[in-house]
């Protein structure tokens, strides 16, 4: 009999404790992020698709050595370049990234000796066609410079 009443009282007490916790949580500030209006800064190790690193003049540092192209296990990258006057080596004319196959392994970034590519912080990707994920990174860099 005593145990019966004890169970009722401890049970009821635990319910009150629970309710006091939720009412206190209710008065505390909101912790969620209102996403389209505010976005959090990505951490330094976040890996978006790769992008070209701009140099001081806003151009790129790529010497078209093709190391990234060869090191990519998924063959996502195609680089094209041409000889130009006054430039040692080649100048980049097209940097095609097929992001549909990229596994974000980072081999390309590691194999690039001049440090011309890095991971972007771009996570807002959406598209209805495969073509939306095939980027021309050189054009992307030029658009960013505008």
């Amino acid at each position: 009999m005593g145990a019966y009443f004890k169970e009722i009282f401890t049970g009821f007490w635990s319910l009150l404790v629970g309710m006091s916790i939720t009412i206190r949580e209710m008065t505390k500030p909101v912790v969620t992020e209102q996403y389209p209006y505010e976005a959090s800064v990505m951490t330094s190790r976040f890996r978006g698709h790769i992008e070209l690193v701009p140099n001081e003049e806003g151009g790129n540092k790529c010497i078209v050595c093709g190391m990234c192209m060869r090191s990519c296990p998924s063959a996502c990258i195609t680089v094209e370049g041409e000889k130009r006057e006054g430039i040692k080596g080649k100048a980049l004319t097209r940097y095609r990234l097929d992001f549909t196959r990229c596994s974000l392994c980072g081999m390309c970034v590691e194999s690039c000796r001049p440090g011309a590519i890095r991971f972007s912080k771009d996570y807002n990707l959406a598209g209805t066609k495969k073509a939306a994920y095939i980027f021309d990174l050189l054009k992307r860099l030029e658009e960013q410079n505008k």
Partner: protein, 327 residues
């Protein structure tokens, strides 16, 4: 036109509007309450503070198609949502919002409300049974056994109250509680267990309206959506509005029976505002409870009723009878 007809029409429109507005804005309050308890914001896009959200949801529900699946019972399937909503609206007829603001001051008002409240479980049973869906049938069976289990302690408590008040007329019951020391929840001269009686009544009305933590009828993790699995559009909408209207009825009754209805705690300015204030405080508690406790298991639910609520309410009944005889 004679004034009686105008009165009937005015109250009819008023009650339906009150029930529908409450159903709409309690959903909003529920979502806001849930959100802030979980430290989110809740609806905020449609209108200031998301205040237009219920309107938009209502329009969405109304413009959807009512799907009648194959193999359902065509009559009962259509009847069930109406049966869920109509008794709830009927019960408003006798609720005294203030001394004069009551559609019909019926002498057996309390009895009438309980008569209509028991139709609600029939709606769930018919809805589940007519749906030709195994989840709906299981849910209907649960709802019935739950309602039977909780109707008993609730009615025993109400009998205790009627023994004390000596009337079934809700307005007279309110008139007997002019200030806070005479509210029936604190009327220790009638029985030292009055606050317990209030608690039993409140728990039972939660269970009767199938609210969390007693929402086993629509346990979505096991039963999809329970008895309204097959309902779309306003069929679902009526079940939903019926649930909220029943919450309002349950809380109104608790306010009338135990918390002095439209009476001021200090006996100064009685009126409809006191009724609404107490009503919405209780409704907020209902929402608060929902977002605090997880759903109980089915045997836990029945154990609570048969092992605790029924014996305690029985004891309270006997104690009150003794007190009434002796004092």
């Amino acid at each position: 036109m004679d004034s009686e007809l105008i009165r009937v029409i005015a109250f009819l429109v008023g009650i339906i509007a009150f029930a529908a507005l409450n159903a709409a804005y309690l959903v909003w309050l529920e979502r806001k309450g849930a959100a802030h308890i979980q430290r989110r914001i809740g609806p905020k896009e449609v209108g200031p503070f998301g205040l237009l959200q219920p309107m938009v949801d209502g329009i969405k529900l109304m413009t959807k198609q009512i799907l009648i699946p194959d193999g359902v019972d065509p009559v009962l399937f259509r009847l069930a949502p109406i049966l869920a909503m109509v008794p709830a609206i009927m019960s408003f007829v006798t609720i005294p919002f203030s001394e004069t603001l009551v559609a019909r001051n019926i002498n057996v008002g309390l009895l009438m409300i309980f008569a209509f409240a028991s139709v609600n479980v029939l709606a769930l049973l018919l809805g589940g049974w007519a749906s030709n869906n195994k989840y709906a049938v299981i849910s209907a069976a649960r709802a019935v056994s739950q309602n039977i289990a909780y109707e008993i302690p609730m009615l025993i408590t109400v009998i205790t109250m009627v023994m004390i008040t000596g009337t079934l007329n809700l307005n007279e019951i309110v008139a007997q509680q002019p200030n806070i020391s005479q509210w029936y929840i604190f009327r220790f001269s009638a029985s030292p267990l009055m606050p317990v009686a209030f608690l039993i009544f409140f728990i039972c009305s939660l269970a009767e309206t199938n609210r969390a933590p007693f929402d086993l009828g629509e346990a979505e993790s096991e039963l999809v959506a329970g008895f309204h699995t097959e309902y779309s559009s306003m069929g679902f909408g009526l079940f939903f509005m019926g649930e909220y209207a029943n919450i309002v009825i349950g809380c109104s009754l608790a306010v009338v029976l135990f918390l002095g209805g439209w009476q001021d705690p200090f006996g100064l300015y009685p009126g409809v505002w006191w009724f609404l204030l107490k009503l919405y405080l209780l409704i907020f508690t209902v929402i608060w409870i929902r977002w605090t406790f997880p759903r109980t298991q089915f045997y836990g639910l029945l154990n609570l009723s048969w092992k605790i609520l029924i014996p305690v309410s029985m004891f309270n009944l006997l104690l009150t009878a003794g007190f009434l005889k002796v004092f």
